[in-house]
């Protein structure tokens, strides 16, 4: 694994094949061996380009998560019209009794 501090030495790949496999699993994506090789090279190139910010001194700069400062936006807690439940459930791959049906979450199907 590369150095988690982010100061990966120049010349080393910013992301390894094992890390891409790990990230794919976290993101619930399955990659073939060929895809793993291809994506590792492509992601490494993007992360390598991102190193151009390493020279910037941002130690005292606050992060921006959103372009404009937001405060909590609330509304009165009153019942009002919403989307139609049947219309929503009709879009589910499988629905039953007004609920989304999925295969077993733990273990194999009986």
């Amino acid at each position: 694994m590369s150095d988690p501090s982010g100061t990966t030495p120049p010349g080393t790949a910013p992301i390894t094949r094992d890390e891409v496999a790990h990230v794919a699993n976290l993101a619930r994506l399955q990659l073939t061996d060929t895809e793993l090789d291809q994506f590792t090279g492509q992601l490494a190139a993007v992360l390598d380009h991102a190193r151009d910010v390493e020279g910037l001194d941002v130690a005292d700069v606050p992060p921006t998560a959103h372009p404009f400062e937001l405060v909590n936006v609330t509304r009165p807690d009153e019942v009002r019209p919403s989307v139609d439940r049947d219309e929503v459930m009709a879009q589910a791959p499988v629905a039953e009794d007004g609920q989304f049906r999925v295969p077993p979450v733990l273990g194999e199907a009986p």
Partner: protein, 475 residues
């Protein structure tokens, strides 16, 4: 002049006065679509029958002495990441094939309320991730000026629809340039409004701190007209700015006498094709001749925008696209248990570029790397905002190219990083949240359109479009 080269403003005036029927206008546009759509592939879906029904309602309203609204009978094309109730909305992704949204986006409701006639859903790079429409699961759109070239992206289909005369107006979304860049490559006007100026309720999310809906049009005045209709506060979007829609057309043609225009040094040098740079210089000279005070301006951190953007946008996308899990809507690939079903569905449903960005974002947010990548990118975003603010202390608007080159050939930028470099001029305005517009201004050495970008401080759409209109008038 045929209907398909008439402006939206002229169509609406004619329909409201009863001198033309909305149905007649629509049929002419549907005929234009039928003639050239097979070659250009602007649309994922043309909604001809529904459009005829809306046009007939507009005509009935006029006949009854009612005013159908400022877009009476104007055909409008919608990017296929805007929800339309009961009408397929795919994001050009297999994972949403067959999905029928249970509600209309706010912009769709406002278009209907203004008398517009929606003609169809336009093609895009899958989930708006791309700059060419080559990432669409349904095949790319083609540039009407040269069908061997890309139309730009991600809102390529909307740009093509307007450029080819399929509709005088279209809506797109712009996260890193996805309205402005295809507008530039197809020779039409494209506006990214201030973040929060247009409600995003019903826009399928890509990167929530950057996404904004905006208009495509053939003229600056038409773009202003459409923006007036879709802008303004919406309680259904918590990021919507609480102020009414601005009047953008009243002062549109007041000229640029006395306005200060800054040409951004960092976005006009290295990496910009000489023929594109020459058009920006010509635009600066034309504005100067029209009475503006043109100077050089500096936004030093803008050159770091690309690096920050390609960490922030994928990070937000990795979170937003976690919802496509085969449970509640869209595609499901069956498997014996739910984790395998999630995996099989996402693996089959997403294309390569979407997978790349999800993985990049997941990595940038993962334990041990968050501070080095996502955290640092957020700090760079602050620097860009500060540099824009400093530049706007001295000038009213900023000028740059929209895209570093004219339309490129299909397959020319198959390497992802090479494709990302296209967005260098457009990304800074998304990071700052400020508005920007691309105005067609002549052609490059290859005879293809060049777009000039005008940027303004937040909520400065009126001044920005005034400069755009003045520039348009000097063509």
């Amino acid at each position: 002049m045929t209907a398909t080269t008439t402006t939206a403003s002229a169509i609406a005036a004619a329909v409201r006065s009863g001198s033309r029927s909305a149905r007649e206008v629509l049929e002419e546009h549907l005929a234009a679509i039928e003639a050239r759509e097979p070659e250009l592939h602007a649309f994922n879906l043309v909604t001809g029958d529904a459009a005829r029904a809306s046009a007939d309602r507009v005509d009935a309203a006029v006949a009854a002495g009612e005013d159908p609204g400022p877009l009476a009978g104007v055909p409008v094309a919608l990017k296929d990441n805007l929800c339309t109730r009961g009408v397929a909305t795919t994001c050009s992704s297999r994972i949403l094939e067959g999905w029928l949204p249970p509600y209309d986006a706010t912009v769709v409701q406002r278009l209907a309320g203004a008398g517009a006639v929606i003609v169809g859903k336009t093609n895009l790079d899958e989930f708006a991730m791309g700059s060419s429409t080559e990432n669409s699961a349904f095949g790319p759109s083609r540039n009407p000026h040269d069908t061997s070239r890309v139309p730009g992206g991600s809102s390529g289909g909307s740009a093509v629809a307007v450029a080819a005369g399929f509709a005088p107006l279209a809506l797109g979304s712009d996260t890193g340039g996805s309205i402005r860049q295809p507008a530039a490559l197809c020779g039409v006007v494209g506006v990214k409004p201030t973040y929060g100026a247009v409600s995003r309720y019903g826009l399928i999310a890509f990167a929530s701190s950057l996404d904004q809906i905006g208009p495509f049009a053939n003229t600056v005045e038409d773009a202003a007209l459409l923006l007036e209709v879709i802008a303004g506060h919406d309680p259904m979007d918590s990021t919507s700015i609480p102020r009414p829609a601005p009047d953008l057309r009243a002062g549109l043609h007041r000229g640029v006498e006395g306005l200060r225009v800054g040409v951004v040094r960092e976005l006009t040098g290295d990496g910009i094709a000489p023929d594109v740079a020459a058009r920006v210089t010509a635009a600066a000279d034309a504005l100067s001749a029209a009475g503006a005070k043109v100077t050089e301006a500096s936004v030093p951190a803008a050159i770091y925008g690309l690096s920050a953007y390609y960490l922030i946008a994928p990070a937000e996308a990795s979170s937003n696209l976690a919802r496509y899990d085969g449970v509640r809507y869209g595609m499901r690939v069956d498997a014996p248990n739910t984790p395998d079903m999630n995996l099989a569905t996402r693996t089959a449903g997403f294309g390569d570029e979407v997978k790349r960005r999800i993985m990049l974002g997941t990595y940038a947010l993962s334990a041990g790397y968050y501070d080095a990548y996502y955290g640092k990118a957020q700090k760079v975003r602050t620097l860009i905002i500060r540099d824009f603010a400093a530049a706007y202390a001295d000038v009213d608007v900023l000028l740059s190219p929209t895209s570093p080159t004219t339309a490129f050939a299909f397959g020319a930028k198959s390497d992802p990083l090479t494709m990302y470099l296209n967005d260098v001029c457009t990304i800074p305005s998304n990071l700052s949240g400020d508005p920007a517009v691309s105005v067609p201004y002549g052609v490059g050495d290859d005879g293809l359109p060049v777009g000039v970008q005008i940027m303004a401080p937040a909520l400065g759409e009126d001044t920005m479009l005034r400069v755009a209109a003045a520039l348009e008038a000097t063509r």
